[in-house]
């Protein structure tokens, strides 16, 4: 299952490997796939938490059991066809304690999906185990061989194009985009989600790992994926990455902007952050100023408008969260919400209103 522009979603029965990492942040990939995908997740392996449930540890995922080993999964009569490596530790190397369960899975014919920087396919022991078991390894962050250069083709798009943008990295842009897609479905609209990172790709089964793609080809990959669904849906929701303010990841953000040429953007922010992550000298200005930056960067290629905002209010008391949302709305002059907490309806309304205005 290589990354590609073909929509090839196949529903999988998944066991997650998150040994020793079972927290919402530690097992970010597991959490994303558990909560937001249509795959059947049947168990999470973490021997340090065996006997608990996903809900207790991962802030989502319901009653799915946390078990001690792959043998336990089999003993429970569960029959996964896929093992998801649910973590992405700094450095992107497979933790030592993960080797044995990964080999056991491959030998049992269970495909392994990994978002590590270190590709499992390049590890001879793992490759041989896959051969023995007739299983496949999907290194989700491995760029495909055939990389296109962006042509600006989405300037002439048919379906409304929407990009999730942000004031920083890692503040819930993917989640917000998926919640918006699902809220649109509830009112009979078909929004296609274009994944641009590993977790999103595991959820949808396709896309490109844009942050791992060489600079010359990032726009082209996003453009190719958008074109593959353009005209076949009401709107294309492109998963966001990084931020134009981020002095490390900003090129990835621009790759998405010029690849998908958004008609609209939704600006995501976490109110507790005043500076870019781990870069205290890079301050985050008011949302209205950041929104203007995104619009300014696009306007010479195609007019684009920030049509709403998302606040990630996780961990804030409800009244504080609502006050922060109101303040953000006053600053931005556009609808703002925390879609995970309060629903995404106002954002879907904003998209539908803009679609009508520009006739897309």
């Amino acid at each position: 299952m290589p990354s590609s522009a073909k929509r090839n979603f196949t529903k999988r029965t998944i066991v997650h490997l998150a040994e020793g990492y079972c927290t919402p942040r530690g097992a970010k990939t597991t959490r994303g796939v558990l909560v937001y995908s249509e795959h059947d997740s049947v168990a999470v392996i973490d021997s340090t938490n065996a006997g608990k449930t996903a809900r207790q540890l991962l802030d989502g995922g319901g009653d799915i059991p946390v078990v001690g080993s792959l043998a336990d999964v089999f003993r429970m009569g569960l029959k996964p066809d896929t093992l998801v490596v649910g973590v992405t530790p700094v450095g992107g190397r497979l933790p030592t304690s993960f080797r044995r369960p990964v080999i056991e899975a491959l030998e049992a014919g269970i495909d392994v999906w990994s978002g590590m920087h270190q590709f499992l396919q390049n590890d001879q022991e793992l490759r041989l185990a896959a051969e023995r078991g007739g299983a496949e390894i999907w290194d989700v962050r491995k760029p495909p061989e055939d990389l296109p250069v962006g042509m600006g083709a989405m300037i002439n798009n048919k379906s409304y194009s929407m990009l999730m943008v942000g004031t920083d990295c890692a503040l819930g842009k993917m989640t917000a985009g998926l919640v918006i897609r699902d809220a649109a479905k509830a009112i009979g609209k078909h929004y296609e989600f274009v994944a641009t990172g590993q977790t999103g790709m595991m959820i949808t089964g396709w896309g490109h790992p844009v942050d791992a793609i060489p600079g010359d080809f990032m726009c082209g990959c996003v453009e190719k994926d958008c074109l593959s669904v353009d005209g076949q849906c009401d709107a294309i929701i492109v998963e966001g990455q990084g931020s134009l303010l981020h002095p490390g990841y900003s090129p990835v953000t621009l790759g998405l902007l010029h690849g998908c040429m958004p008609d609209g953007m939704i600006l995501c922010h976490q109110p507790s952050r005043t500076a870019v992550s781990n870069r205290e000298h890079v301050l985050i200005p008011a949302l209205s100023i950041v929104a203007k930056l995104y619009e300014d960067v696009q306007k010479l290629l195609k007019p684009s408008r920030v049509i709403g905002g998302v606040l990630n209010t996780h961990g804030m008391a409800e009244d504080t969260a609502r006050a922060a949302i109101e303040a953000a709305e006053n600053d931005l002059g556009r609808p703002v919400t925390d879609p995970v907490r309060f629903g995404a309806e106002v954002l879907v309304e904003a998209i539908e209103k803009h679609r009508k205005e520009i006739g897309k």
Copy 2:
């Protein structure tokens, strides 16, 4: 000789391989190294043009002979230690007719430098030839293993930081930057040139091939290279790539901007272009508008100013060229010239003036 942030220039004696490609555009890498590096270039191999000189074919390079084969080079008593593959054909694969001379060079103990997308080191036949001859292959576009993420460190730079920017790709940004560096040297100023592409790297012996670096690490590589010379020179001139207007290469441009955090920028343009290369639907607006785009993208991280402009007037009659420069100056409100044709003095003056203004 891996790409790195260490300044490790060693003067080489170079034979260029440009078989069948001996035009300024076809042998772009050869021309750049011939005209702008301190290496000794002793011959160019192109059997279809044997007997001519570089000047006749490459618009520069003086009386350096064009010869039919490596054997001819030896017969002339020349002793190159390095063979530069002087072309980068679309697709980035070594032309078939280049294999034999490359193998002959390696077997004779001559190092080979190549900017192909297809790495020569991965070609077993070439690798074995290098082993036999005790020669080294430098795949200039191969990213190093150890890639840093940008931290925005150049916000607090010591030496004045200058980025060459443009309205499009391939319009002479590297050349203009080198000419500016040399004009500064003539008045006793030390401007360090930071290479960000293969030809620039061959000229200086160091740098990163930014367009071949995965998105997450482009800023970090440029930042690392700038920091390695910051405080040790009057100004850092960063080689430009692509354009913020280019819907394929713009992320590379932003990687440079946020990596080097320029105090000043010089905007390069070719007056004959009205749209971005091969993208007729992406029009190039007035230089003053493009300059504002570059300044707007930077201003939330660090104030940066376009302090001058470069027009590539190659092929234009002199009076037409001078009229175009005057028109550009009126639009931009800043000094503009074609430094290759009319000298870079006004641009060095603009840099020195800005340095004094901001105290760097």
